[in-house]
C-alpha cells in the first residue's frame, strides 16, 4: 500500500478503465491514481497530492448541470436571507375580502384563501422551507449513512445491534411520533421539526447505506486493499464511500422534497411550524383543501418546491457522477 503522502503516478483513470483491465488491477491502479494522482494543471513544485474528492471537485466545476443547479440554490439562499430583495409586501398582511382572487397588478400570483398575497408568501416561505429541507436532509444523511455504513461494514454484532435499533425506529408511526414528540414543544423555531425529521428519517438512509456498503465491501479492490493491510478508516473513506454513496445521494435528494412536504403534514396535524411562521408546506397544505376552486393557490408554493427539489436532484446527480470513478 503506497503511503498517501508519497506522490504517485500522474495518470488518467479513465484510460485505465477504458483499457478494460481486470478488476483487481483496475482496483489497485485506480486506488493509487485516485488518491495520489497529481493535478496535471498544477505542475508547480508545491503541488498537493490530489484526492478523489478534489478530483471530483475539478469535474464538478466544468459540469453545466452542477453550475445551473448551484445557481438555483444560490438564488434560493439569497432570497431566504433577504426576501425583501424581490418581494416588497408583508406576508402576514391578509385581507379576507381578497380571498382566492386571481392574478392582478402588483399581485402576480393572486391571493390565497385568507386573502394573503401568494407571491409574497412564496418568497418569504423559502427561508423556512429550504432551511427545513436542507438541514433535515443533511442530518438524516449524515446520521443515517454513518450508522448504516458502520453496520454494513463491520457486520456481526455491530450490524445486529444497529439494525435492530433501526427496526425499532421504523416502527414508530410518523403521526404518533409527531403528536407525541412535537406536541410538548412550544418553541416556534424550526429546530424541533428538523430534529423530529432526523430522528424518524435516519433509519431509511441507514438501511440504504448499509445495503450499499455490504455490496461495495464485496468488490475485489476492497478485498485487495484489505489484503494489503489498509486500515478500516482508510477503506471506508477511500474505497467504500465513493462506491456506496450513490444510492444515499439519490434517496437524500428526493427526501429533501418530501421533508419540505412533510412539514406541511405536521402543520396539518397541528404539531408542525406554528403561525406566524410562513412556509411552503403550510401554504401547500392550506391550498390543498381548496384545490378544486382555486388551483393557483397550490401552483406557486408547489412550483417553488418542485424547482428546489429539481436543483438538489441535479446537484446530487452531478456530485454522484463526479465521485464515480467508472464514469471517468
Amino acid at each position: 500500500m503506497p503511503d498517501p503522502q508519497q506522490p504517485g503516478l500522474p495518470d488518467d483513470k479513465s484510460a485505465i478503465s477504458a483499457a478494460g483491465a481486470g478488476a483487481a488491477t483496475d482496483m489497485a491502479m485506480s486506488e493509487g491514481i485516485s488518491l495520489e494522482g497529481q493535478d496535471p494543471q498544477g505542475g508547480g513544485p508545491d503541488t498537493k497530492p490530489r484526492s478523489l474528492w478534489s478530483d471530483a471537485w475539478r469535474d464538478l466545476r466544468r459540469n453545466p448541470v452542477f453550475l445551473i443547479s448551484s445557481l438555483i440554490i444560490l438564488f434560493l439562499v439569497v432570497i431566504s436571507i433577504w426576501p425583501s430583495l424581490i418581494a416588497s409586501g408583508n406576508p402576514l398582511s391578509c385581507d379576507l375580502a381578497k380571498s382566492q382572487q386571481g392574478s392582478q397588478p402588483g399581485h402576480p400570483f393572486g391571493f390565497n384563501q385568507q386573502g394573503c398575497d401568494v407571491y409574497t408568501r412564496t418568497v418569504y416561505g423559502a427561508r423556512t422551507s429550504v432551511a427545513v429541507g436542507v438541514l433535515a436532509t443533511l442530518g438524516v444523511a449524515v446520521l443515517g449513512s454513518v450508522l448504516g455504513g458502520l453496520a454494513g461494514f463491520f457486520g456481526g454484532v455491530w450490524d445486529a445491534i444497529l439494525s435492530r435499533v433501526t427496526d425499532m425506529f421504523f416502527a414508530i408511526p410518523v403521526v404518533l411520533g409527531g403528536l407525541v414528540l412535537l406536541s410538548v414543544v412550544t418553541s416556534t423555531t424550526i429546530w424541533p421539526v428538523i430534529g423530529f425529521m432526523v430522528l424518524l428519517g435516519w433509519p431509511q438512509i441507514s438501511r440504504i447505506a448499509r445495503g450499499s456498503v455490504i455490496t461495495a465491501k464485496q468488490n475485489d479492490y476492497v478485498q485487495a486493499a484489505r489484503a494489503l493491510g489498509a486500515s478500516n478508516t482508510r477503506m471506508l473513506l477511500r474505497h467504500i464511500t465513493p462506491n456506496a454513496v450513490a444510492p444515499v445521494i439519490v434517496v437524500a435528494t428526493i427526501a429533501l422534497g418530501t421533508y419540505i412536504a412533510l412539514e406541511a403534514t405536521l402543520s396539518f396535524l397541528g404539531v408542525g411550524l406554528r403561525p406566524p411562521t410562513v412556509s411552503w408546506g403550510i401554504d401547500i397544505s392550506d391550498a390543498s383543501a381548496n384545490v378544486r376552486n382555486a388551483p393557483h393557490m397550490l401552483l406557486w408554493p408547489a412550483g417553488a418546491l418542485a424547482i428546489t427539489v429539481l436543483a438538489f436532484i441535479m446537484l446530487g446527480d452531478a456530485v454522484r457522477d463526479a465521485l464515480d470513478p467508472k464514469l471517468r
Partner: protein
C-alpha cells in the same frame, strides 16, 4: 351498491372495474314510489357503544333517532318537544312528576313498552358502574348522588326518585325545582329499553333493538349498518321508505364525492371547502338548515392577565375586531350565521332566541375595537394565542381568518396567532387542567332546545362546561330565578336578562350559529335536517 344485492353487485363491478362506469345511483334495493326503496346515507363510526345514555355525538345519535322513541320527541321542524310515548306528564310543584305511558307501544321484538322499560333504562343510565357518558342527564332526579357519587362507589342500585306505580305509570321526584324538565325528555338518553338489553347485553349491542320506526337488520361494525322499516311500528311517524343503509366513510369529503358520482343518496355533513361546489353540483338538493350549535371564544379567567378589572373592555374590543359577516361568507360559504346572542335561532323567539341581543358588542368596527382594546389594557403579552384542536373540524381556516381580522383591526401583524393542539383529547385535557394560555374555541351543541341549556351549563359558576371559569353573581342569581319560574315566558325573560349580564361582561365572545348542511341524490326527496343537524330519515321518500 346497497342492500341485499350488495355483494353480488360489487363482484360484477370488480370484473369490469376500470372499464365500467359506476353502477349509478338508482335501481337496486327495491321499487320506486311505493315506500320500499332503500336510502343509502353516509355515516361515521360511533365513538361509543350504541347505548342511549352513552351516545354523545351525532353519528350514534342518528341511529338512536331511528330505532328509539322516547316520552317526548322534538318536532323535526320547530324543535318543540311534543308527546310521543307520553300520554301525560303532570306536576303540581315542578318537583314531583306523574308520567303515564301510552298504551299499544311495543319494542320491535314484541315486548311491551311499559313504565318499567323507562325506569330500568334510566336507572341503568344513571348508575356509575355502567360508565354511561350522559349519566349527568339524570342528575336532576332525586337520589342521583347515591347511584353516581362524585367520589367513591355507588351506595344505591336505583334512583330513589323513580317509582313504578302501575304498568303504564311511574313517578319522578326531582332534587330541585325544574319547570321545563319534561321538555328535556326528548333526548335519546331518556329512551326506554327492552329487557333484552339487560339480559343479553352483548348481543343487544351487536344488534340493538328499540321501539322506533326502524329496526336494525344487520350491523357490521366499522363499515355498515342496515336499518329496515319496522312494519308494525305503532307510532304515526312511520317510515316513508323501505329502510336506510348507513355506510361508514373514512372522510366526509369522500362521501361527498361518492354522492356526486351517484353511489350514495345522502351526505349530512358536507365539508366546508366543498360547499361552494355543492351549490353547483347539487342545486336545490343541497340543504343548509340552522342547527342548535353555537361557536364561541372562551377566555381563561383563571389566568390573571385575562381577568383584569378592565377585561370586559378588552374582550368587547376583541369581539368587535372580528368581521363575522365576512368570515362566515368567505370561509364557511354561509353555512354559519354571524351570532348576535349566546343561544341559537332554532329555539325560536318564544324559546328565548333574541337576535341582536349582543348589540354593538358583536358589530365589526375596527376603529372602536382598537380603542376598546387599548382602554382595556391591550392584548396581554402583546400576542394572544387562539387555541383550537387540529384533528377534527378543520378549525384552522377560521381561526386564521379571525386572527387576521383582529390583526388588521388592531394594526399589528401578530396580535393574534392560531395555537393548534394535535388531538381533541389533548385539547380537552389542557382545558380541563386550566392550562390554556389564551382564548380558545368552544362549541356547544344543545342537548335539548331550551335557552337554559345554552346558558347554565356554560356560564353558571362552576358549571360542568364552564371551561373558562367565568363567574358572575348577578348572572347566577338570574339563572336560579329563571329555573324556579313556572311560567315559561317569564323564565325565558329572566334567562335573557342573565344573557345581558353575560354580554356586558363579555364572558365569552359569540362567533356564529352553525347550520347543518346536507346534500342528496335525485333518487330521494323530502329530505330535511332536524335542529340537531340529523336527517329526518323516516320522512325521506325514495323514487
Amino acid at each position: 351498491m346497497r342492500g341485499a344485492t350488495h355483494a353480488r353487485w360489487t363482484a360484477v363491478a370488480v370484473a369490469v372495474t376500470l372499464a365500467a362506469t359506476g353502477c349509478g345511483g338508482g335501481g337496486n334495493g327495491g321499487g320506486g314510489g311505493d315506500g320500499s326503496g332503500i336510502v343509502s346515507s353516509s355515516w361515521g363510526d360511533p365513538q361509543n357503544p350504541l347505548e342511549p345514555a352513552n351516545t354523545n355525538e351525532v353519528q350514534g345519535g342518528k341511529v338512536l333517532d331511528m330505532i328509539f322513541r322516547g316520552l317526548k320527541r322534538y318536532n323535526p321542524k320547530t324543535g318543540a318537544a311534543e308527546d310521543a310515548l307520553a300520554e301525560k306528564i303532570e306536576t303540581d310543584d315542578s318537583v314531583n312528576y306523574r308520567i303515564t305511558v301510552k298504551d299499544g307501544w311495543t319494542f320491535s321484538n314484541g315486548e311491551k313498552v311499559t313504565a318499567k322499560s323507562f325506569v330500568d333504562a334510566w336507572n341503568y343510565g344513571a348508575h356509575l358502574d355502567n360508565n354511561q357518558k350522559n349519566a349527568y342527564f339524570f342528575g336532576y332526579i332525586d337520589g342521583y348522588d347515591e347511584v353516581h357519587p362524585e367520589e367513591g362507589d355507588a351506595t344505591a342500585r336505583t334512583l330513589s326518585g323513580l317509582k313504578v306505580t302501575g304498568e303504564r305509570t311511574f313517578t319522578v321526584k326531582l332534587n330541585q325545582k325544574f319547570s321545563t324538565w319534561p321538555e328535556t325528555l326528548g333526548y335519546a338518553a331518556f329512551a326506554p329499553l327492552p329487557t333484552a338489553f339487560f339480559e343479553d347485553h352483548d348481543s343487544w349491542l351487536a344488534k340493538p333493538v328499540g321501539n322506533g320506526p326502524y329496526q336494525v337488520d344487520n350491523y357490521a361494525k366499522g363499515s355498515q349498518m342496515s336499518l329496515r322499516t319496522w312494519n308494525d311500528y305503532p307510532g304515526d311517524d312511520k317510515a316513508q321508505n323501505g329502510g336506510v343503509d348507513l355506510k361508514v366513510y373514512t372522510d366526509n369529503n369522500t362521501a361527498y364525492t361518492d354522492l356526486t358520482a351517484g353511489n350514495l343518496d345522502l351526505v349530512d355533513d358536507i365539508p366546508a371547502n366543498q360547499i361552494k361546489n355543492a351549490q353547483s353540483d347539487l342545486g336545490d338538493r343541497y340543504l343548509n338548515t340552522p342547527a342548535g350549535i353555537i361557536q364561541t371564544l372562551s377566555f381563561p379567567f383563571y389566568d390573571k392577565e385575562w381577568n383584569t378589572p378592565d377585561g370586559a373592555k378588552l374582550r368587547t374590543g376583541i369581539s368587535r375586531a372580528i368581521n363575522r359577516e365576512q368570515i362566515t361568507k368567505t370561509i364557511f360559504q354561509n353555512t354559519r350565521t354571524p351570532a348576535t346572542d349566546w343561544t341559537s335561532p332554532v329555539l325560536g323567539e318564544d324559546g328565548g332566541y333574541k337576535a341582536g341581543l349582543c348589540g354593538d358588542a358583536c358589530e365589526y368596527d375596527p376603529a372602536e375595537a382598537k380603542r376598546l382594546v387599548e382602554e382595556g389594557g391591550g392584548i396581554p403579552g402583546g400576542t394572544m394565542r387562539l387555541g383550537y384542536n387540529a384533528d377534527t373540524g378543520s378549525h384552522k381556516e377560521w381561526v386564521d381568518a379571525v386572527c387576521n381580522s383582529i390583526n388588521n383591526a388592531l394594526g399589528q401583524d401578530r396580535a393574534c396567532v392560531g395555537d393548534p393542539t394535535g388531538t381533541f383529547a389533548d385539547f380537552r385535557n389542557k382545558i380541563g387542567e386550566r392550562k390554556m394560555p389564551g382564548p380558545f374555541r368552544a362549541g356547544w351543541q344543545m342537548d335539548y332546545p331550551l335557552i337554559q341549556n345554552f346558558l347554565q351549563p356554560l356560564y353558571y359558576t362552576d358549571a360542568s362546561s364552564n371551561d373558562g371559569e367565568w363567574s358572575n353573581e348577578k348572572f347566577d342569581k338570574l339563572v336560579d330565578d329563571a329555573n324556579a319560574e313556572s311560567d315559561t315566558a317569564k323564565a325565558v325573560e329572566k334567562f335573557q336578562q342573565a344573557e345581558e349580564v353575560l354580554r356586558d361582561e363579555m364572558g365569552a365572545i359569540p362567533l356564529w350559529y352553525q347550520n347543518g348542511s346536507a346534500g342528496y341524490s335525485d333518487r330521494i326527496s323530502n329530505v330535511e335536517l332536524n335542529p340537531f343537524s340529523v336527517p329526518v330519515y323516516n320522512e325521506i321518500k325514495v323514487g
